[in-house]
């Protein structure tokens, strides 16, 4: 019986806002021209596309020509990393962290197979990369550093400002996967030394299948696909016009009054965290303060994540887990392992990612049902011994 539906998986994806969909629809209906066409229909769409680019650039503190439209975070990461390696032409050293999203980590592993040595930096128990370790890892042939702006699983914010400055001092390119940050926290690229930044529209109530790569003015990369001249040849192919328009509108909406919204979201997050920590043997994963406003990640000792997710799902709550059983692989999340969690604790991890639309009532509902779920599953568990009263 699903009495209520509570969506707390905004780290996976978010619903498209009505205003966003409204902005997109005309570009499927009447404004269907190809922005590369010379005729009036094409020119009209080109104007709108460039306006969207300007809006996105302005919100991010960038210039319009620094924004390359892509199909999303994964493609943006691939273009930045592979495109830079291709431009370099010879083998060189790459620095990244051990807790990157697979869309960076696996690209680095792939480049490693092709002969580029890679350093995977460790993180502390909160999941933070120490900028000092970045400095120490630099080698004479290091050509790119890629460190995410915030971790998707545990929400820890990375010191990208410091790392960007270190990279700049050493004249090394710096890429950051900011998919989880754009739309949740204010970001001003004119104040951070970043050469590439990846973002994805569906993480901030925009449509799926569209994103962008910020490429700092003057930075040259080679395209990884070859085709037409769109997006300065860096990402050839007819632009996803409705998607781009939707992304621009979504970013505009999320950026209006962002500080206030981030604050409100952080309050919901902190209420949920403190409620969950009242349950016996629950551990907060990630940094207590330096974390995404919408991210809550906890481990429930003695029970397994997928069974918690399933119980939550049966009561209408959507969340996610880093447990092996919920991922389809046999290993628990590489992020939870990197922060030092043992197998059992990593298996009992649950991520609640809050977003636009979540309310205090949602927090109340989750805090009402979760102690019962945990208690029930712990009664089944062979490792749980209830404390004597």
């Amino acid at each position: 019986m699903k009495s209520r539906q509570v969506y707390m998986d905004h780290g996976a994806t978010t619903p498209v806002r009505e205003e966003v969909l409204e902005a997109m629809l005309p570009f499927y209906r009447e404004h269907y021209g190809n922005p590369s066409s010379l005729h009036a229909q094409g020119r009209a769409v080109r104007r709108e596309l460039e306006t969207a680019r300007e809006k996105i650039a302005e919100i991010l503190g960038a210039e319009a020509k620094e924004i390359i439209f892509t199909s999303g975070g994964t493609e943006s990461n691939n273009i930045a990393l592979r495109g830079t390696a291709k431009k370099k032409g010879t083998k060189g050293h790459i620095i990244t962290s051990s807790i990157e999203h697979h869309a960076v980590l696996d690209v680095c592993r792939d480049l490693e197979k092709e002969g580029h040595p890679v350093t995977y930096l460790p993180v502390d128990k909160y999941g933070r990369v120490d900028p000092q370790t970045v400095k120490e890892a630099i080698q004479p042939d290091t050509f790119i550093i890629s460190i995410m702006a915030a971790n998707n699983e545990i929400g820890t914010l990375q010191p990208i400002k410091e790392i960007g400055s270190i990279a700049a001092e050493h004249k090394i390119l710096f890429h950051t996967d900011a998919v989880q940050v754009v739309g949740q926290l204010p970001l001003d690229l004119s104040k951070i030394k970043v050469d590439f930044l990846s973002l994805s529209a569906h993480k901030f109530n925009g449509p799926k299948g569209v994103g962008a790569l910020y490429v700092r003015k003057g930075v040259r990369i080679n395209p990884i696909y070859i085709g037409g001249g769109q997006e300065r040849k860096i990402r050839p192919g007819t632009e996803n016009v409705p998607g781009i328009i939707g992304m621009s509108r979504a970013l505009e909406l999320t950026s209006t009054g962002m500080e206030e919204k981030s604050e409100k979201l952080s309050q919901l997050r902190d209420r949920l965290i403190s409620g969950l920590l009242k349950i016996d043997e629950v551990i907060l994963n990630g940094h207590p303060e330096e974390r995404l406003p919408g991210n809550v990640n906890v481990s429930f000792e003695h029970i397994e994540g997928e069974s918690i997710l399933l119980s939550l799902d049966l009561q209408g709550v959507a969340a996610s887990s880093g447990s092996a059983c919920s991922s389809g692989s046999l290993d628990p999340s590489h992020v939870l392992s990197a922060i030092g969690l043992d197998h059992h604790t990593a298996h009992g991890s649950i991520r609640f990612s809050l977003g636009y639309g979540n309310s205090n009532n949602d927090i109340d509902y989750v805090l009402e049902i979760i102690p019962l779920i945990v208690d029930k599953l712990r009664r089944i568990s062979p490792t749980y011994k209830p404390k004597a009263i």
Partner: protein, 123 residues
């Protein structure tokens, strides 16, 4: 992802907990995915009179544990030894392919318990 029978056994698991003075205890664990199960048996005249379990694991692991306890009650030890992990999954009406390995612990724990019982009683 899971069928109704699996969800039923997961939501209302049968025979949960520790038996008092069990005649045999069996344990199994998957080092890889981290699931563990303990099975308790009461045996009388070579027949399983009572059974219970404790499991750390996903929905499939818990449902398989519960299903197994229903399947073995009243069976002779010889009959119980014949039960395979596949039988448990079949009795549940099937499991998603990716989750099959999670169900592999139930029959293993049962066989371990019976072996322990036989060893202790010199059978």
């Amino acid at each position: 992802m899971y069928n109704e029978k699996v969800i039923d056994h997961f939501s209302n698991p049968r025979n949960v907990g520790e038996l008092e003075n069990p005649d045999a205890v069996g344990e199994t664990g998957s080092f890889k995915c981290g699931d563990t199960m303990t099975l308790y048996l009461k045996v009388e005249d070579g027949r399983i009179e009572d059974v219970s379990f404790q499991t750390f694991g996903c929905g499939a692991a818990i449902a398989s544990s519960s299903m197994l306890t229903e399947m073995v009650k009243g069976k002779t030890l010889d009959e119980a030894m014949e039960i395979t992990n596949q039988d448990v999954a079949d009795e549940l009406g099937g499991l998603p392919p990716l989750k099959l390995h999670c169900s592999n612990l139930a029959a293993d724990a049962l066989h371990n318990a019976i072996e322990n019982y036989r060893k202790e009683n010199g059978i």
